[in-house]
Amino acid sequence: MKKIILLISFAAVASFASAQNNGHIVSFDGMDELKIGIGKVELEKLLKIKIEFKHIGKDERYTETINATYKGIPMEIDMMRSDEIVARLDGMRTSSPLFKTAEGIGVGSDQQTIINTYEKHLLIIDKETITLADADNLHSSIVFWMKDKKVVAIGSEPTAAFRDRE
Protein backbone atom coordinates (compact mmCIF):
# COMPACT_ATOMS: atom_id res chain seq x y z
CA MET A 1 0.00 0.00 0.00
CA LYS A 2 2.81 2.34 0.98
CA LYS A 3 4.48 1.61 -2.37
CA ILE A 4 1.32 2.51 -4.29
CA ILE A 5 0.94 5.80 -2.40
CA LEU A 6 4.58 6.58 -3.07
CA LEU A 7 4.17 5.82 -6.78
CA ILE A 8 1.05 7.99 -7.05
CA SER A 9 2.79 10.87 -5.21
CA PHE A 10 5.81 10.55 -7.48
CA ALA A 11 3.59 10.59 -10.62
CA ALA A 12 1.73 13.68 -9.39
CA VAL A 13 4.94 15.56 -8.58
CA ALA A 14 6.50 14.55 -11.93
CA SER A 15 3.41 15.67 -13.83
CA PHE A 16 3.38 19.05 -12.02
CA ALA A 17 7.11 19.54 -12.60
CA SER A 18 6.69 18.69 -16.28
CA ALA A 19 3.94 21.31 -16.64
CA GLN A 20 6.16 23.83 -14.88
CA ASN A 21 9.13 23.12 -17.10
CA ASN A 22 7.37 22.82 -20.44
CA GLY A 23 4.78 25.46 -19.75
CA HIS A 24 1.83 25.92 -22.06
CA ILE A 25 2.03 28.21 -25.05
CA VAL A 26 -0.52 30.84 -26.00
CA SER A 27 -0.36 31.72 -29.69
CA PHE A 28 -2.43 33.58 -32.26
CA ASP A 29 -4.14 30.35 -33.29
CA GLY A 30 -4.93 29.00 -29.84
CA MET A 31 -3.61 27.71 -26.54
CA ASP A 32 -1.54 24.52 -26.76
CA GLU A 33 -3.63 21.93 -28.64
CA LEU A 34 -6.79 23.97 -28.27
CA LYS A 35 -6.92 25.70 -31.64
CA ILE A 36 -9.36 28.37 -32.78
CA GLY A 37 -11.86 26.77 -35.16
CA ILE A 38 -11.74 23.16 -33.97
CA GLY A 39 -15.12 21.45 -33.70
CA LYS A 40 -17.05 20.26 -30.67
CA VAL A 41 -16.10 16.59 -31.13
CA GLU A 42 -12.36 17.31 -31.30
CA LEU A 43 -12.62 19.64 -28.31
CA GLU A 44 -14.42 16.96 -26.27
CA LYS A 45 -11.53 14.57 -26.98
CA LEU A 46 -8.92 17.11 -25.84
CA LEU A 47 -10.83 18.09 -22.72
CA LYS A 48 -11.92 14.51 -22.07
CA ILE A 49 -15.48 15.62 -21.37
CA LYS A 50 -18.88 15.59 -23.03
CA ILE A 51 -20.01 19.15 -23.78
CA GLU A 52 -23.68 19.88 -23.19
CA PHE A 53 -24.77 23.27 -24.50
CA LYS A 54 -27.43 25.29 -22.75
CA HIS A 55 -28.06 27.60 -25.70
CA ILE A 56 -26.33 26.51 -28.92
CA GLY A 57 -28.79 24.39 -30.88
CA LYS A 58 -31.46 25.00 -28.27
CA ASP A 59 -32.37 28.68 -28.60
CA GLU A 60 -31.52 31.73 -30.72
CA ARG A 61 -28.11 32.34 -29.17
CA TYR A 62 -25.20 31.39 -31.39
CA THR A 63 -22.35 31.79 -28.86
CA GLU A 64 -21.82 30.18 -25.50
CA THR A 65 -19.01 30.16 -22.95
CA ILE A 66 -18.22 26.95 -21.06
CA ASN A 67 -15.95 26.35 -18.08
CA ALA A 68 -13.63 23.39 -18.38
CA THR A 69 -10.20 22.15 -17.33
CA TYR A 70 -7.42 21.42 -19.80
CA LYS A 71 -4.58 19.31 -18.37
CA GLY A 72 -5.75 20.35 -14.93
CA ILE A 73 -5.83 24.06 -15.77
CA PRO A 74 -9.16 25.90 -15.43
CA MET A 75 -10.20 27.54 -18.71
CA GLU A 76 -13.08 29.57 -20.11
CA ILE A 77 -13.93 28.45 -23.63
CA ASP A 78 -16.10 30.31 -26.15
CA MET A 79 -18.04 28.23 -28.65
CA MET A 80 -19.81 29.54 -31.71
CA ARG A 81 -22.65 27.83 -33.57
CA SER A 82 -21.58 26.50 -36.92
CA ASP A 83 -23.83 25.06 -39.60
CA GLU A 84 -21.32 22.37 -40.60
CA ILE A 85 -20.12 21.05 -37.24
CA VAL A 86 -22.71 22.10 -34.61
CA ALA A 87 -20.20 24.45 -32.91
CA ARG A 88 -16.57 25.48 -33.16
CA LEU A 89 -14.05 26.90 -30.69
CA ASP A 90 -14.05 30.70 -30.98
CA GLY A 91 -11.83 31.84 -28.11
CA MET A 92 -10.40 30.81 -24.75
CA ARG A 93 -8.70 32.24 -21.68
CA THR A 94 -7.22 31.32 -18.31
CA SER A 95 -5.88 33.04 -15.25
CA SER A 96 -3.27 30.31 -14.76
CA PRO A 97 0.38 31.44 -14.76
CA LEU A 98 1.25 28.15 -16.52
CA PHE A 99 0.17 29.61 -19.87
CA LYS A 100 2.58 32.09 -21.49
CA THR A 101 3.33 33.45 -24.93
CA ALA A 102 6.43 32.19 -26.75
CA GLU A 103 8.16 35.36 -25.51
CA GLY A 104 7.36 34.51 -21.88
CA ILE A 105 4.53 36.99 -21.27
CA GLY A 106 1.84 35.66 -18.97
CA VAL A 107 0.01 36.30 -15.71
CA GLY A 108 2.11 38.71 -13.63
CA SER A 109 3.82 40.45 -16.60
CA ASP A 110 3.45 44.25 -16.71
CA GLN A 111 2.14 46.66 -19.37
CA GLN A 112 5.50 48.22 -20.21
CA THR A 113 7.07 44.78 -20.80
CA ILE A 114 4.26 43.92 -23.22
CA ILE A 115 4.74 47.23 -25.10
CA ASN A 116 8.51 46.72 -25.33
CA THR A 117 8.27 43.03 -26.27
CA TYR A 118 5.80 43.47 -29.12
CA GLU A 119 7.05 46.60 -30.89
CA LYS A 120 6.66 44.92 -34.28
CA HIS A 121 3.04 43.95 -33.65
CA LEU A 122 -0.16 45.90 -33.24
CA LEU A 123 -1.32 46.40 -29.65
CA ILE A 124 -4.86 47.57 -28.98
CA ILE A 125 -4.81 48.95 -25.46
CA ASP A 126 -8.15 49.35 -23.71
CA LYS A 127 -9.05 50.07 -20.11
CA GLU A 128 -8.99 46.41 -19.02
CA THR A 129 -7.31 44.55 -21.86
CA ILE A 130 -4.32 44.63 -24.17
CA THR A 131 -4.95 42.87 -27.45
CA LEU A 132 -1.87 41.72 -29.33
CA ALA A 133 -2.83 41.34 -32.98
CA ASP A 134 -0.84 39.18 -35.36
CA ALA A 135 1.18 41.50 -37.64
CA ASP A 136 0.55 39.18 -40.60
CA ASN A 137 -3.12 38.68 -39.88
CA LEU A 138 -4.73 41.36 -37.73
CA HIS A 139 -7.81 39.15 -37.29
CA SER A 140 -6.00 36.77 -34.87
CA SER A 141 -4.96 37.89 -31.42
CA ILE A 142 -3.63 37.09 -27.98
CA VAL A 143 -5.49 39.00 -25.28
CA PHE A 144 -4.07 40.05 -21.92
CA TRP A 145 -6.57 41.01 -19.21
CA MET A 146 -5.01 43.71 -17.04
CA LYS A 147 -5.40 44.98 -13.50
CA ASP A 148 -3.16 47.72 -12.13
CA LYS A 149 -1.01 47.41 -15.30
CA LYS A 150 -0.35 43.70 -14.64
CA VAL A 151 -1.63 40.68 -16.57
CA VAL A 152 -4.28 38.75 -14.60
CA ALA A 153 -5.49 36.46 -17.38
CA ILE A 154 -4.40 35.48 -20.88
CA GLY A 155 -6.26 34.12 -23.89
CA SER A 156 -6.43 33.61 -27.62
CA GLU A 157 -9.35 34.79 -29.76
CA PRO A 158 -10.28 36.54 -33.01
CA THR A 159 -9.42 40.28 -32.80
CA ALA A 160 -12.67 41.92 -31.69
CA ALA A 161 -11.69 45.31 -33.20
CA PHE A 162 -11.29 43.72 -36.63
CA ARG A 163 -14.21 41.25 -36.61
CA ASP A 164 -16.26 43.40 -38.98
CA ARG A 165 -13.35 44.41 -41.21
CA GLU A 166 -12.34 42.46 -44.29
Binding site: I115, E119, A135, A161
Partner: protein
Protein backbone atom coordinates in the same frame (compact mmCIF):
# COMPACT_ATOMS: atom_id res chain seq x y z
CA UNK B 1 21.75 119.07 -24.47
CA UNK B 2 22.07 120.37 -28.05
CA UNK B 3 25.36 118.53 -28.23
CA UNK B 4 23.63 115.20 -27.41
CA UNK B 5 20.69 115.76 -29.76
CA UNK B 6 22.05 113.67 -32.69
CA UNK B 7 22.77 110.78 -30.31
CA UNK B 8 19.24 110.89 -28.81
CA UNK B 9 17.68 111.05 -32.29
CA UNK B 10 19.84 108.15 -33.44
CA UNK B 11 18.69 106.04 -30.47
CA UNK B 12 15.03 106.87 -31.17
CA UNK B 13 15.42 105.84 -34.84
CA UNK B 14 17.02 102.57 -33.75
CA UNK B 15 14.15 101.83 -31.30
CA UNK B 16 11.47 102.57 -33.95
CA UNK B 17 13.25 100.42 -36.57
CA UNK B 18 13.63 97.57 -34.10
CA UNK B 19 9.90 97.68 -33.22
CA UNK B 20 8.88 97.63 -36.90
CA UNK B 21 11.17 94.70 -37.57
CA UNK B 22 9.66 92.77 -34.64
CA UNK B 23 6.14 93.39 -35.95
CA UNK B 24 6.96 92.10 -39.41
CA UNK B 25 8.56 88.95 -37.93
CA UNK B 26 5.56 88.28 -35.67
CA UNK B 27 3.47 87.54 -38.73
CA UNK B 28 5.68 84.58 -39.71
CA UNK B 29 7.22 83.33 -36.49
CA UNK B 30 5.22 81.50 -33.83
CA UNK B 31 4.94 83.49 -30.60
CA UNK B 32 7.48 82.35 -28.05
CA UNK B 33 6.32 80.40 -24.99
CA UNK B 34 2.80 79.94 -26.36
CA UNK B 35 1.34 76.46 -26.58
CA UNK B 36 -1.37 75.49 -29.04
CA UNK B 37 -3.80 72.92 -27.71
CA UNK B 38 -4.20 69.62 -29.56
CA UNK B 39 -7.67 68.15 -29.06
CA UNK B 40 -9.60 65.27 -30.65
CA UNK B 41 -11.36 67.77 -32.90
CA UNK B 42 -8.45 69.92 -33.99
CA UNK B 43 -5.45 72.04 -33.09
CA UNK B 44 -6.14 75.50 -31.65
CA UNK B 45 -8.56 77.25 -34.04
CA UNK B 46 -8.15 74.66 -36.77
CA UNK B 47 -11.10 72.29 -36.46
CA UNK B 48 -11.59 68.98 -38.22
CA UNK B 49 -14.38 68.96 -40.81
CA UNK B 50 -14.00 72.70 -41.46
CA UNK B 51 -14.96 73.65 -44.99
CA UNK B 52 -12.42 75.13 -47.36
CA UNK B 53 -14.03 78.59 -46.94
CA UNK B 54 -13.84 78.39 -43.13
CA UNK B 55 -10.24 77.26 -43.34
CA UNK B 56 -9.31 80.11 -45.68
CA UNK B 57 -10.75 82.55 -43.13
CA UNK B 58 -8.70 81.09 -40.25
CA UNK B 59 -5.52 80.89 -42.30
CA UNK B 60 -6.18 84.23 -43.98
CA UNK B 61 -5.08 82.79 -47.30
CA UNK B 62 -6.54 81.31 -50.47
CA UNK B 63 -6.36 77.50 -50.71
CA UNK B 64 -6.13 75.59 -53.96
CA UNK B 65 -6.82 71.85 -54.11
CA UNK B 66 -5.63 70.63 -57.51
CA UNK B 67 -6.20 66.93 -56.79
CA UNK B 68 -9.89 67.40 -56.02
CA UNK B 69 -10.34 68.98 -59.44
CA UNK B 70 -9.30 65.63 -60.90
CA UNK B 71 -10.53 62.20 -59.84
CA UNK B 72 -8.84 61.99 -56.44
CA UNK B 73 -10.88 62.22 -53.25
CA UNK B 74 -8.30 63.98 -51.10
CA UNK B 75 -5.58 66.58 -51.30
CA UNK B 76 -2.60 67.22 -49.00
CA UNK B 77 -1.45 70.80 -48.56
CA UNK B 78 1.23 72.55 -46.50
CA UNK B 79 0.18 75.76 -44.74
CA UNK B 80 1.38 78.12 -42.04
CA UNK B 81 -0.90 78.67 -39.07
CA UNK B 82 0.30 81.51 -36.83
CA UNK B 83 3.79 80.85 -38.18
CA UNK B 84 3.61 77.10 -37.50
CA UNK B 85 4.04 74.62 -40.36
CA UNK B 86 1.03 72.35 -40.69
CA UNK B 87 0.17 69.61 -43.16
CA UNK B 88 -3.53 69.38 -43.90
CA UNK B 89 -5.54 66.74 -45.73
CA UNK B 90 -8.77 67.88 -47.35
CA UNK B 91 -11.42 65.36 -48.43
CA UNK B 92 -14.28 65.89 -50.81
CA UNK B 93 -15.76 65.19 -54.18
CA UNK B 94 -14.81 68.63 -55.47
CA UNK B 95 -13.01 71.82 -54.55
CA UNK B 96 -16.05 73.60 -53.11
CA UNK B 97 -17.33 70.79 -50.82
CA UNK B 98 -13.91 69.81 -49.42
CA UNK B 99 -13.60 69.44 -45.65
CA UNK B 100 -10.60 69.13 -43.35
CA UNK B 101 -9.87 65.48 -42.49
CA UNK B 102 -6.36 65.66 -40.98
CA UNK B 103 -4.03 68.21 -39.37
CA UNK B 104 -0.40 67.29 -38.68
CA UNK B 105 2.48 69.27 -37.21
CA UNK B 106 6.00 68.70 -35.95
CA UNK B 107 6.07 71.97 -34.01
CA UNK B 108 6.84 71.55 -30.28
CA UNK B 109 4.45 74.38 -29.32
CA UNK B 110 1.50 72.15 -30.20
CA UNK B 111 0.64 69.96 -27.21
CA UNK B 112 -2.23 67.96 -25.78
CA UNK B 113 -3.89 68.99 -22.51
CA UNK B 114 -1.56 66.59 -20.69
CA UNK B 115 1.49 68.21 -22.29
CA UNK B 116 2.29 65.54 -24.89
CA UNK B 117 3.85 66.90 -28.07
CA UNK B 118 6.93 66.57 -30.25
CA UNK B 119 9.83 65.22 -28.17
CA UNK B 120 7.67 63.36 -25.64
CA UNK B 121 8.34 59.67 -24.83
CA UNK B 122 6.21 57.03 -26.57
CA UNK B 123 5.27 55.44 -23.25
CA UNK B 124 4.02 58.80 -21.91
CA UNK B 125 1.80 59.24 -24.96
CA UNK B 126 0.34 55.77 -24.35
CA UNK B 127 -0.18 56.29 -20.63
CA UNK B 128 -1.70 59.79 -20.92
CA UNK B 129 -5.03 58.34 -22.11
CA UNK B 130 -5.92 55.41 -19.79
CA UNK B 131 -9.64 55.61 -20.61
CA UNK B 132 -9.32 55.66 -24.41
CA UNK B 133 -8.66 52.86 -26.88
CA UNK B 134 -5.10 53.14 -28.20
CA UNK B 135 -3.67 51.48 -31.28
CA UNK B 136 0.09 51.06 -30.88
CA UNK B 137 1.94 49.57 -33.81
CA UNK B 138 4.68 49.91 -36.39
CA UNK B 139 4.24 52.06 -39.49
CA UNK B 140 5.01 50.73 -42.95
CA UNK B 141 8.55 51.40 -44.13
CA UNK B 142 7.45 50.37 -47.56
CA UNK B 143 4.34 48.19 -47.86
CA UNK B 144 4.22 45.39 -46.74
CA UNK B 145 7.41 45.82 -44.69
CA UNK B 146 6.76 47.25 -41.23
CA UNK B 147 9.35 49.67 -39.84
CA UNK B 148 11.65 48.71 -36.96
CA UNK B 149 11.93 52.32 -35.76
CA UNK B 150 8.80 54.16 -36.87
CA UNK B 151 5.54 53.54 -35.04
CA UNK B 152 2.25 55.19 -34.15
CA UNK B 153 0.22 55.64 -31.00
CA UNK B 154 -3.33 56.40 -32.11
CA UNK B 155 -5.63 57.52 -29.29
CA UNK B 156 -9.24 57.02 -30.35
CA UNK B 157 -12.18 59.13 -29.22
CA UNK B 158 -15.17 57.39 -27.65
CA UNK B 159 -16.89 56.91 -31.01
CA UNK B 160 -13.75 55.25 -32.40
CA UNK B 161 -13.54 57.49 -35.43
CA UNK B 162 -11.52 60.60 -34.52
CA UNK B 163 -8.01 60.13 -33.23
CA UNK B 164 -4.95 61.94 -31.98
CA UNK B 165 -2.06 60.15 -33.65
CA UNK B 166 1.45 60.41 -32.26
CA UNK B 167 4.01 59.55 -34.91
CA UNK B 168 7.06 58.00 -33.24
CA UNK B 169 10.66 57.43 -34.25
CA UNK B 170 12.94 55.60 -31.82
CA UNK B 171 10.41 55.84 -28.99
CA UNK B 172 10.04 59.66 -29.25
CA UNK B 173 7.13 61.66 -30.68
CA UNK B 174 8.25 63.39 -33.90
CA UNK B 175 4.88 64.75 -35.04
CA UNK B 176 1.27 64.87 -33.92
CA UNK B 177 -1.79 64.47 -36.11
CA UNK B 178 -5.50 64.76 -35.49
CA UNK B 179 -7.67 62.82 -37.90
CA UNK B 180 -11.44 62.69 -38.28
CA UNK B 181 -11.53 59.13 -39.61
CA UNK B 182 -8.67 56.90 -38.48
CA UNK B 183 -8.23 53.17 -39.01
CA UNK B 184 -5.03 51.27 -38.20
CA UNK B 185 -3.81 48.92 -40.91
Amino acid sequence: MKKNMPLVLGLLVCIVLSCNNKKSNEKDDPPQNKDYLIRMDGIDSLKLEMTRAELEKVLNTKITLPNLATTRASDTISVKYRGIDMTLIMDGSDDSTATLRSIQTTHPSCKTASGIGTGADKIKAIEAYPDNRRFVGPEYEEYPVRSATKSVVAVMDTLNTRAIIFHIIDKKVVSVEVNSYYEYY
